[in-house]
């Protein structure tokens, strides 16, 4: 049991170590503080935060509907919501393009409204939300189901209206599940590549997020790509560490 576990762990850790060995620490500072790198990092953080917020706004009601109601075709609805988890991100990007792009399903309507979504920062946020939403829905629905309705029923018989039950009982009890779901969604948004490059393109400062920047740099300046990769690893590690701290504090 320990041998395969160790092999698995090694498989995860070894590439990270290999990457570390290739970093030229002397030029590390200048590499990651170049204009394009700073712009990409700032854009990545901004869009990931925005898409995480969107995931919470839409994902919490979705998880509640899936966990607390029963309706015809619910299992189909659940499968559809989770589809982006298994869909190649590029396919997701193409789907978004044919929905919100200029010649897409809703493209004309959007254009009439004077907006253009494709190849804008909005498109980046949408692509990230598209791929990250299932992560939040899955972990929150799980938390809601394991928590069960016992406490909500008690609250109702004590005279609490549905809104009060949600705010004072349901939400506080699933907060850890919501937090870990939000972290997963944030991490997924931060690493998003395929859907973004398909639907939003790669314009510096507008749609070129850190993963896109790394991919582009790898062709011209591999050293910069490795340095930026490390930045992404550090950001991801910090996020995970922060949420673990806040979860134990709860």
């Amino acid at each position: 049991m320990f041998v395969p576990a160790a092999v698995g762990a090694l498989f995860v850790v070894l590439p990270l170590v290999a990457m570390l060995t290739r970093i030229e620490w002397a030029s590390f500072g200048t590499l990651i503080t170049s204009d394009s790198s700073r712009a990409a990092l700032a854009l990545s953080l901004r869009t990931s935060v925005a898409s995480t917020v969107l995931c919470i706004v839409f994902g919490v009601p979705m998880a509640l509907v899936l966990a607390r109601t029963e309706f015809r075709g619910q299992s189909i609805a659940r499968s559809l919501v989770l589809l982006p988890l298994v869909l190649p991100p590029v396919v997701g990007g193409i789907a978004l393009l044919y929905t919100f792009g200029r010649r897409g399903l809703l493209g004309h309507t959007i254009e009439v409204l004077g907006l253009q979504i494709a190849f804008s920062t909005t498109a980046v946020v949408m692509a990230q939300t598209f791929v990250a939403l299932p992560f939040l829905v899955v972990s929150l629905e799980g938390a809601l189901r394991t928590g069960g309705q016992r406490f909500e029923e008690v609250a109702a018989t004590l005279g609490a209206r549905p809104t009060t039950v949600f705010l004072r009982v349901t939400l506080p009890l699933v907060l850890p599940g919501l937090a870990s779901g939000a972290v997963l969604a944030f991490a997924r948004a931060l690493g998003e590549f395929g859907a973004t490059i398909t639907f939003a393109g790669s314009l510096q400062g507008v749609t070129r997020t850190l993963p896109l920047e790394i991919y582009l740099q790898r062709e011209t300046d591999p050293q910069a790509a490795v340095a930026l990769s490390l930045v992404l690893v550090v950001v991801a590690t910090v996020v995970i560490a922060l949420t673990r701290r806040s979860r134990t504090a709860l």
């Binding site: 016992r150 008690v154 004072r168």
Partner: protein, 350 residues
């Protein structure tokens, strides 16, 4: 408050009518799966019956039949509090805020709700736990707090679903005493398996079997003159159900028990013969002499019962002294003869 509840939930095979008079406690007895918890959940509004009518005094909480949707009051507006086996205290709130939850939900400002909560905690002798988290309480302490939390909402009807069954033997008596005190003059339905709860806490008893009320009446009557097998069992009595022929009750299985009818019974009328295990004599061979009822059976089980031993057969049980048991030298699987004096058997209509 007076409750009337007529419920039909065909998918759970429940179809029953219950009534609780104002200020009285009704004990719901019955085997597992008889529909007791379903009845409570329907009255609390956590489960919607297919059809029926639930009223609390003049207020209709639910009405409906198969064709129309009718009326439905949601659980939070019913004024019906439910106390379950486990205390179910909100784990993220302090004990004080748990008790203050109901008044707060009714719109009371936080300060006043907490004051009220303190008073209710004092009522159940749990004041010292006010600032603790529920996780730091024992089962008995948590159930005290849960009782205070339910009462703090000033419910018009209190539903208790086996409130003592999850407690250890040390804390159950104290909680039973507490319930006895707080249930006085409150309209309450108490689901229980325990004869002691029924006797000490309930004014009336309703016995449920397979989703129907098979017996209902004042506790003392139901326990001394049961007409259902379940009520007889928890009252510790033998009950033989059949049809009356003169002073004899005959079952479809061919068992005949003669007794003293309390009133004249019509030929062929449904009747029961009820007698205490104490009135049963146990022999290996049928004795000759006065007792007129002789029933043969196979011992299924022996269990200690106070200072005596209870001998079970498929239909009847008998209490004998350990000395008598030693003399008889019987065990499970042995053939025995039970004798019952007719003068010890009560026969009445069922």
């Amino acid at each position: 408050m007076k409750l009337h509840a007529q419920l039909s939930l065909p998918e759970r095979s429940v179809d029953l009518t219950l009534a609780v008079e104002a200020g009285r406690t009704l004990a719901l007895l019955g085997p597992n799966g008889a529909g007791k918890s379903t009845a409570l959940a329907s009255i609390a509004g956590l489960l919607r019956p297919l059809s029926g009518l639930i009223t609390l005094d003049e207020r209709t909480l639910f009405s409906g039949n198969d064709s129309s949707s009718g009326e439905w009051v949601p659980p939070h507006s019913r004024g019906v509090a439910l106390l379950a086996q486990e205390a179910r205290l909100f784990p993220h709130l302090s004990v004080l805020d748990n008790v203050a939850f109901g008044p707060r939900s009714a719109g009371m400002p936080r300060g006043r709700a907490r004051e009220l909560a303190r008073e209710w905690l004092a009522q159940v002798d749990a004041e010292e736990f006010a600032d603790r988290r529920p996780a730091a309480l024992s089962g008995g302490q948590a159930q005290r707090v849960a009782i205070a939390r339910a009462l703090a909402t000033e419910p018009q009807l209190l539903l208790l679903d086996e409130p003592l069954s999850a407690l250890d033997v040390e804390s159950a008596p104290a909680i039973r005493q507490l319930l006895r005190r707080v249930l006085k003059d409150r309209s309450t339905i108490l689901v229980t398996h325990d004869i002691l709860d029924a006797v000490l806490l309930a004014d009336d008893v309703a016995v449920l079997e397979s989703g129907m009320v098979v017996e209902q009446g004042p506790t003392s009557r139901v326990l001394t003159r049961p007409t259902s097998g379940f009520a007889a069992r928890i009252a510790g009595l033998n009950l033989v159900r059949g049809t009356a022929y003169g002073t004899t009750v005959s079952t479809s299985a061919g068992l005949r028990i003669e007794g003293l009818p309390e009133e004249a019974l019509g030929e062929g009328q449904a009747a029961v013969a009820v007698f205490s295990p104490n009135a049963v004599g146990v022999y290996r061979e049928a004795p000759s002499g006065s007792p007129r009822n002789v029933v043969r059976g196979t011992v299924t089980d022996l269990e200690p019962h106070g200072h005596q031993v209870r001998v079970h057969t498929a239909y009847l049980s008998a209490d004998i002294t350990p000395a008598a048991l030693a003399e008889l030298a019987i065990g499970p699987g042995d053939e025995v003869v039970f004798t019952i004096k007719a003068s010890e058997v009560a026969v009445y209509a069922a």
